[in-house]
Point group: C2
Chain length 218, copies 2
DNA sequence: CGCACTTTTGAACGCTATCAATGCGTGTGG
DNA sequence: CCACACGCATTGATAGCGTTCAAAAGTGCG
């Protein structure tokens, strides 16, 4: 099976909304964001992907790429034609199952984010976002102590469903609580001194609107 | 490949959180809800599935079922062992690709819901929910004029990220706007006189917090 | 009929959006 | 080199939407 290895710079586009779906991309190095053009004509953050994630599943069902995918940093991705991957997977069950597992992971993550949006107030939502980002880096053996987020406040807010002002305020409050600290290098570089404390903060702020009674009527 | 055909009554459980992942379920008739036990010990609506949807993808990545899946109504599901499905898919590419397409659809839907939570106010969120539900029924050639939602206000609110009081108020406002109307049979039966009007309402209320400037810096 | 659960509606509070002004960092041209 | 402009980030004041607390009405079932 032939992977095409591509090196990318920040801003390079991996796929474009509207083009026919042919390839999947496995991210090896760096980070990629998916941008979706909403019906209202606005750009929306559709997803964030880093090392080990696949990009392109959005075209599987319709045959057309649904979103732009743009490198956020100097990156390396492996592109593979879906049909080739499919053919190979027929002979290599492990590959097929690994692909399924990757898709399952992505579904789970997407669902968890939906739940986070539904249950967390602004501060906790940002904290949860930063925590997951740090954890994702850690799992991949990347340095997770000093983190650089190559996103504007507007993009973060768009992803988290809050205004850029609220993002900024939440950052300030998290700093005030010493749950994060900004680097000298600018307001996009920060550190998480105590991940456990950050997690505890998220948990403590989690509220369930309309808790479902355990005593199920159905 | 052997599907096991199962008939279910409201409240019957298809899978249980924590049990080892072995089977996927294809819903043929009826509707199923997925319930997740959150870290705070609360029950959360994880997903809603109807005819044509697969249930069980949540176990793909970890090997363990993440949520309970419970029939909301008299239903029929086809259960299939994942490993058997996998073996069969090696011989039948169409099956493999259909499965991928189904997973892609589910991912897209999950992402769309996340965006809806991020951009729609309460009334529009409920309207969008009802609209999608009606459309899902219509696509499957089920009657979509008079709809029965076998969910409590608390469950709807939990799914949409709002309190049950707000759900109730939003229902009332949608009725006042004549975008929906309650049936005589109770407050869980309703009709959508004009789907287009409902869609227009959702669109009109859609606001993008922190719009991303089209002029991308990256 | 009475009880438990669900739904509706009201009033007050709090969180987040909105509008607005200021500060910061970078690149450009005088 | 500095002034300036531009985009991004921060912070403040105010308003609005949704939550919270509370009470009452509707629904289903033994």
């Amino acid at each position: 099976m032939s992977f095409e290895r591509r090196r990318l710079h920040a801003g390079d586009r991996i796929q474009m909304a509207g083009e026919p779906f042919r390839r999947l991309h496995l991210i090896r190095v760096g980070a990629v964001k998916s941008i979706l053009l909403s019906s209202a004509g606005n750009l929306q953050m559709a997803g964030l992907h880093i090392q080990g994630d696949w990009v392109g599943f959005d075209g599987l069902s319709t045959g057309v790429c649904a979103c732009d995918a743009i490198a956020m940093d100097t990156s390396e991705v492996w592109a593979v034609h879906y049909l080739v991957l499919q053919k190979t997977a027929e002979r290599v069950p492990e590959l097929s199952m690994a692909l399924h597992a990757a898709m399952g992971r992505q579904m789970t993550r997407e669902r968890d984010w939906r739940l986070a949006l539904a249950t967390l107030p602004a501060d906790a939502r940002l904290a949860d976002f930063l925590r997951h980002w740090a954890q994702a880096l850690e799992v991949r053996d990347l340095r997770s102590d000093h983190i650089t987020l190559r996103l504007t406040r507007a993009e973060i807010g768009n992803y988290l469903g809050m205004t850029l002002e609220t993002v900024s305020r939440s950052f300030s409050r998290l700093v005030a609580l010493a749950l994060i600290s900004f680097d000298d290098k600018g307001r996009r570089h920060f550190a998480i001194p105590d991940v456990a404390a950050l997690s505890a903060f998220v948990e403590s702020k989690s509220v369930t609107p309309s808790p479902i009674p355990v005593r199920q009527r159905c």
